[in-house]
Symmetry: C2
Subunit: 234 residues, 2 copies
């Protein structure tokens, strides 16, 4: 089910032509943007083709149908999603591991907001295309990592916490800066999120997660309780 852009091998195992590789990635990029902006049904093949700078028929030459193109975009995205949890292991330092994970998630929201939006859209609208992935791979991954967090708690290295739901909260809190960027911007009164906005958001989410686990902030200045410069201005 997973796209194989990394190895660029098609079903027969042969390498894809250079041209095909380059074109495909351009189309996937355009498709991601359009699907993010309009959803599956709202996106049109014509718009995607325009953005990719090719005729519509060419898009159909590469991806047989809109459905197929959508799945390709989705597969491309799922690879991003599962990664990043490796930092969470029993032997790791909880504060460091969680910080690394949250930062990775925030980085993803900042760098690939369209990917996050396509993913969000897919789930809101019933997850018909990735339900299987959620029920198998994602579930297994979460169970494994939740077990680690439970272990940390059992050893008294963090406060007891519902590990599975903690993941839901981390995903929600981080992805909101991509999926709901418009709302965040509107409330902050800015046209878009700057780098420092993202830094502040990251610091905040880290605060939430670490305090939830009863851990002090790791990176930057150690300031578990004292007022932080990040929180003061408004």
């Amino acid at each position: 089910m997973r796209a194989q852009t990394a190895t660029a091998a098609d079903e027969t195992g042969r390498l894809k032509g250079r041209i095909r590789q380059r074109q495909e990635s351009a189309m996937l990029k355009a498709a991601e943007k359009v699907f993010a902006r309009a959803g599956f049904q709202g996106a049109t093949m014509a718009e995607i083709a325009d953005l990719a700078g090719v005729p519509k028929a060419t898009l159909h030459y590469y991806f047989g149908s809109k459905e197929e193109l959508y799945r390709a975009v989705l597969d491309n995205i799922l690879d991003l999603w599962l990664a990043e949890t490796e930092s969470i292991t029993v032997d790791a330092d909880p504060a460091t591991a969680l910080t690394t994970y949250v930062q990775a998630k925030m980085r993803l929201s900042a760098r690939r907001p369209d990917a996050s939006r396509v993913f969000a859209n897919e789930i809101v609208h019933g997850a018909t295309h990735i339900g299987e992935y959620l029920r198998t791979e994602l579930r297994r991954t979460v169970e494994a990592r939740a077990a680690v967090i439970d272990q940390w708690a059992a050893e008294g290295r963090i406060l007891p916490v519902d590990a599975t739901h903690l993941f839901f909260t981390i995903w929600a809190a981080t992805q909101t800066y991509a999926d709901f960027e418009n709302q965040v911007c509107a409330v902050l009164g800015k046209p878009r999120l700057s780098v420092s906005d993202h830094q502040r958001a990251t610091a905040h989410v880290l605060t939430v997660v670490l305090r939830t686990c009863g851990l002090p902030c790791v990176s930057g200045q150690p300031r578990p309780v004292s007022p932080s410069p990040a929180n003061t201005t408004h």
Copy 2:
């Protein structure tokens, strides 16, 4: 811009007929469900009409266009959104106030998931219809409540925290149980969220928010999400 189903008055100030009132609400209910499931573009007037049990032409008789129907659904929802923040005042007990607010948000996710999904969809896809609302009403509300939280922090009643971003986190953490219900269910390995799942989720989110603010959990047992008549009630 706000729909006036509460007063049932049209633009001229006259009361709407009984028939119109009943029909309209049936159509809005159907529309909310379909828009939630398929998004604005993906929803079809025919499907909404079918679900409402009326011919398509009747739907157009009540709501001139798809756009108009969508705005009506949205307006209906926005009223839900701004409420619930009254509990957050300078004089209130922080723990109690935050608990009340989070519980209210969780209740909304449990009882009106479709409303939440329509809202989510609208924002993900650019917030073209409610951008003004976000930039004005919502922003003002958040600024006011954030000031309260800052005040609490200044008085040492809670730990310092980025108040505005705290709202983003609360919204994200609570609405994820509506918007991303599919993902949550998939990871939990359940076909849908039970009442006890919602209780557990509420307890978790409360833990996150209260620990973030350095507060103890109030009333040992968080108030349960009252048994929801599902998405049915309006």
